[in-house]
């Protein structure tokens, strides 16, 4: 008689959520870095001038390049640490969404003017 060694649960995740959580959190971190760098460039002449990586585009070139590097670096590190693990995706997702929400707020000029 053939009996399965173990029951197959079709709803069980086939792979751990670490890799996805790393991508989600790093996207939140990258977005937040962009907003903070834009704010810093707006408030400090020194930071603004140091963010000019490409003169015709001005400080926007430095804000976006630095934010992308922070995002990709964070992603690489988290992917390396979490790719084979199951992590608390709910909490990580909530943190990422909070960072994304803050990024939306901090890129809105009337909010920037409050600082």
């Amino acid at each position: 008689m053939n009996t399965p060694d173990r029951a197959v649960n079709l709803n069980a995740p086939a792979r751990p959520n670490g890799s996805g959580a790393a991508a989600v959190l790093s996207a939140g971190v990258g977005s937040f870095a962009l907003a903070v760098l834009a704010l810093a460039g707006d408030k400090s002449a020194l930071i603004k001038s140091s963010l000019v990586f490409y003169k015709p585009t001005g400080p926007l070139s430095g804000v976006t390049t630095a934010a992308i590097l922070i995002w990709l670096f964070t992603w690489g590190i988290l992917e390396w640490r979490w790719r084979k693990r199951t992590v608390a995706a709910g909490r990580i997702g909530a943190i990422a969404l909070a960072l994304l929400g803050l990024s939306l707020l901090l890129t809105f000029p009337p909010v920037v003017d409050l600082f």
């Binding site: 069980a12 086939a14 989600v24 977005s31 001005g58 994304l100 939306l104 000029p109 920037v112």
Partner: protein, 190 residues
């Protein structure tokens, strides 16, 4: 009928990459939601999953193309500084907008917001595409990941919408002009 190279680039950036991305976003939101929540047998075949992965990759390309052409091709023309004492500011859109209290808001609110919020779109959609490509239909079993991907895709849509709206309005009040003229057709008198 003619167009200048700068106008052509603005069209490619806004109507080509930006508008197409916005159109694709609504479809992606719906398909991502449907595909990662439904359990119908038709979704178990590899065809729809492969199509949606290709669709997401196309969106990533469109989003990055939109922000890169915006920041490195058009924005330098927008923020170009006029020579001292210049009276005609039509070739300097930023200064033209700032020269009148009725239009300054299009720069101080519109462009200042657009130039930063637009970048949230490619970051968000790249993440969403990566997660979908990695997990595919297994995303049905990762509820929290799925929720985060859908929220980021929605924010990406919102960011692209804000950028698109202000881009269109700014180009209406202070269009980017100049460059070589390209003759599209010679019109005859009727």
């Amino acid at each position: 009928m003619e167009i200048t190279t700068r106008s052509l680039w603005t069209l490619i950036h806004g109507m080509g990459f930006g508008a197409l991305y916005l159109l694709a976003c609504s479809g992606a939101l719906l398909e991502l939601y449907r595909f990662t929540t439904s359990h119908t047998p038709s979704d178990s075949t590899p065809g729809p999953e492969r199509f949606l992965k290709g669709y997401m990759i196309a969106m990533v390309v469109l989003a990055w193309a939109a922000v890169l052409t915006g920041a490195y091709v058009i924005y330098p023309w927008y923020r170009a500084a006029p020579p001292p004492g210049a009276i005609d500011l039509s070739m300097y859109p930023q200064r033209l907008l700032m020269s009148s209290p009725t239009t300054i808001g299009w720069h101080s609110l519109g462009m200042e917001w657009k130039e930063h919020i637009a970048w949230l779109a490619p970051i968000s959609i790249t993440m969403a595409a990566f997660v979908f490509i990695r997990y595919g239909r297994d995303l049905r079993n990762h509820r929290q990941l799925r929720a985060a991907v859908l929220c980021f895709t929605l924010v990406s849509f919102l960011a692209a919408g804000v950028a698109g709206f202000f881009g269109a309005m700014i180009n209406k009040y202070a269009p980017v002009q100049g460059g070589h003229t390209i003759q599209l057709s010679r019109g005859g008198e009727k």
